[in-house]
Amino acid sequence: MAKHYLTRRQLLATTAAASAFVAAPYVRHAHAAGSLSVGFWDHWVPGANKATEDVVRAWAEKEKVDVKMDFITSQGNKNLLTIAAEAQAKSGHDIFAFPTWWPHQHADQLEPVNDVMAELIKQNGNVNGTVEYLGKAKDKWLAVPATVGSQIKGPCSRIDLMKQHAGIDVQAMYPAGEPPKAEQWNMDTFLRAAEACHKAGVPFGIGLGQTTDSVDTAGAIFQSFGAELVDKNGKITVKSDNVRKAMDYYKRLASFLPADAPAWDDASNNKWLVSGRGALICNPPSAWAVAKRDAPQIAEQCWTHGMPAGPNGRYAPFLPYFWGIWSFSKNKSAAKSLLLALSTHDAIAKMVAASGGYDLPAYDKLTTLKTWAEEGPPKGTLYHYPNPHNHQTLSIAAAPAPPAIAFQIYSQAVMTKMVARHLQGEPLERTLAWAESEVEGFMRG
């Protein structure tokens, strides 16, 4: 076999080339910092995705990251199916928009974001208790609260109908640009108003179905009575006096709601308000936004405000979305950098403006953005939507039970089912026994 020797010239040439390669300066090309894939929630407000897209593109340009964005709809639970598929396959997007309970569902598969949250809290102020309850497991931040998609489902009332039939001036109670004057706005006043509006043929549009709008309202009313199905230690407390009081109140309230309320879904209350058939619904400003487009004379009479207070306090349903980083992501540092960029004051202000005030940041210092003060008609209708005066406790149904159990209570709509069963004539104790058995089942490991 012939041997091959390097000549002096070849040796010199090779050495020079190798030295040049090693010593070559790092050239920063267009996508030097790698690539990132993000699954955002597809906003229902036309054009609202654009604000997020612009923020991400500006960040990608600056950081030289190749970003791929997918806007995934929650229609037909497409986003939940995608989360389930990616969790199983351990592959997919780097960052994903997780609805309320889903960070806890995939706690073991999410990259901790304590460093990101520490920076954001320093920058934007503290987050409310519900965000902490849903986004944190022990000391680990599972995800970052997303502005896009987060919402409070407080009452949206018809100014004229409430004044005319219930004698309540919602604008005086919640004046634009000022703190609420709602000391008298409690569960008794709410019940009397519901009765008066029902008699007048414009009942409150609160559903008793199994979708989130119905469940959220039930959760807030239960909490305002201190009614917990499971306490924070995981002890079943279905058969408690507070639950009985909440059920008794709800039964009386339900008799003033539309007869078909147990069949309502999340679209029903929107239609109820927009068609002019009801005096109040509990929803984010989506119904008002639709009315502004389709029935402007009704939109002009809408006022978004706080929930009534119960014996245990004033609770409003808050549903945050989260941006989480999958642990299988290959570019975690870039993902964290993007999460910071998505949560700056300017980025959040853009998102809020693009959604017409629908999207809510979870941070203390960002509840008084000018969009909410200026949106109309009527001007100031959304001023109290982000809870700027911390007038009510933002909460989620089934809290403070351990999230794994609370999620089951929430997703199986146990509270609205309890009300519907009792409303159909089932004795209260039988309903409580049924609920207790259901909750026992949720304890399964």
């Binding site: 199916l81 007869a259 147990p262 239609k271």
Partner: protein
């Protein structure tokens, strides 16, 4: 008388080269048939067999999917009140819907069969419309008709002086509504199958029966139905499986409500597995369809085989 020339076989033995075992293997009819069907077999393996075994695996995991729990999810379901309600509802839904689909399909097939050949095509086409529209779309239209607050049916009823009907708000009416939509969508399938079966019954049988003085009822009972029995059985089995596993109609129309009283296996599995994040329990629920449908399939297919042997 024909003559048959027989050649000397030894002449062939010399010229024909012994064929290799591989060549023989590939030239066999069964091998060729296997290769022709291989793409379909692979497709079924990937899209049916693998998911089926994967769902069995999933159904044996804990709620957090971090440990193997054997049959615990199945035994847990037996202790749930809602599970037994879903079993009952699935059976009521499937059996009632299939009976009505078969009955309506049978009657309409006879009506169409009696029409002159020219007009028949037009009617066949029109009657198939509910079946060819994607069910999700047609169910959306039905949802608007049954809408809790804005039902078109209720508008008519109220204008005629009646009381509005809680189409999806009351358990009984909600069950009626989902069955009605399923029958509306599925009856044309029975109609077209029965029509094909009717056309294959020899006309001579009816002529002979008419000569013998058989009544309309006797012709139906002693000729038509026995000649259609296999088609009736297979159509029923096929429809029973599809109806039992139905998802879209219930999901769109009632989402299982009110108070879970219209859930069937597929919608409840989705509710718990995907919406409730309990994938193992969702998988266990969906697997309960298998033994129930297997029993139905065994009975119906055994009946068909028996009759096949007799013929």
């Amino acid at each position: 008388m024909s003559e048959i020339a027989v050649r000397d076989r030894s002449a062939f033995a010399v010229t024909v080269r012994p064929r290799s075992t591989w060549r023989q293997f590939f030239q066999q009819k069964s091998t060729v048939a296997f290769f022709f069907t291989l793409p379909l077999i692979l497709l079924i393996a990937v899209l049916v067999v693998y998911p089926a075994f994967y769902s069995i695996y999933l159904a044996m995991l804990s709620k957090r999917m971090d440990r193997f729990v054997g049959l615990a999810n199945f035994t847990f379901l037996f202790t749930r009140e809602t599970f037994w309600m879903v079993v009952k509802q699935s059976c009521i839904f499937a059996v009632t819907a299939v009976i009505f689909k078969a009955l309506i399909g049978f009657i309409v097939a006879h009506l169409v069969h009696t029409l002159p050949a020219e007009g028949q095509r037009k009617w066949r086409g029109m009657l198939l419309v509910p079946w060819v529209i994607p069910p999700a779309l047609s169910t959306l239209a039905w949802l608007w008709l049954f809408d809790p607050s804005y039902s078109a049916f209720n508008w008519i009823i109220v204008n005629l002086g009646g009381e509005p009907v809680p189409w999806t708000g009351d358990a009984l009416w909600a069950r009626f509504s989902v069955i009605l939509v399923n029958v509306w969508i599925g009856a044309p399938f029975f109609m077209i199958m029965y029509l094909a079966a009717l056309k294959s019954v020899p006309a001579e049988l009816y002529e002979v029966a008419a000569i013998d003085g058989a009544s309309w009822w006797q012709r139906l009972w002693y000729i038509t139905i026995p000649m259609m029995r296999n088609i009736i059985a297979i159509t029923t089995l096929f429809s029973l499986i599809v109806t039992f596993a139905n998802f879209d109609i219930v999901r769109i129309l009632t989402a299982g409500g009110p108070i879970d009283q219209t859930h069937v296996f597929a919608t409840w599995a989705f509710k718990l597995g995907i919406e409730g994040g309990d994938i193992p329990l969702g998988a266990a629920i969906s697997l309960f369809m298998v033994p129930i449908l297997t029993v139905a399939a065994v009975f119906i297919l055994r009946d068909i085989n028996k009759r096949g042997e007799r013929m």
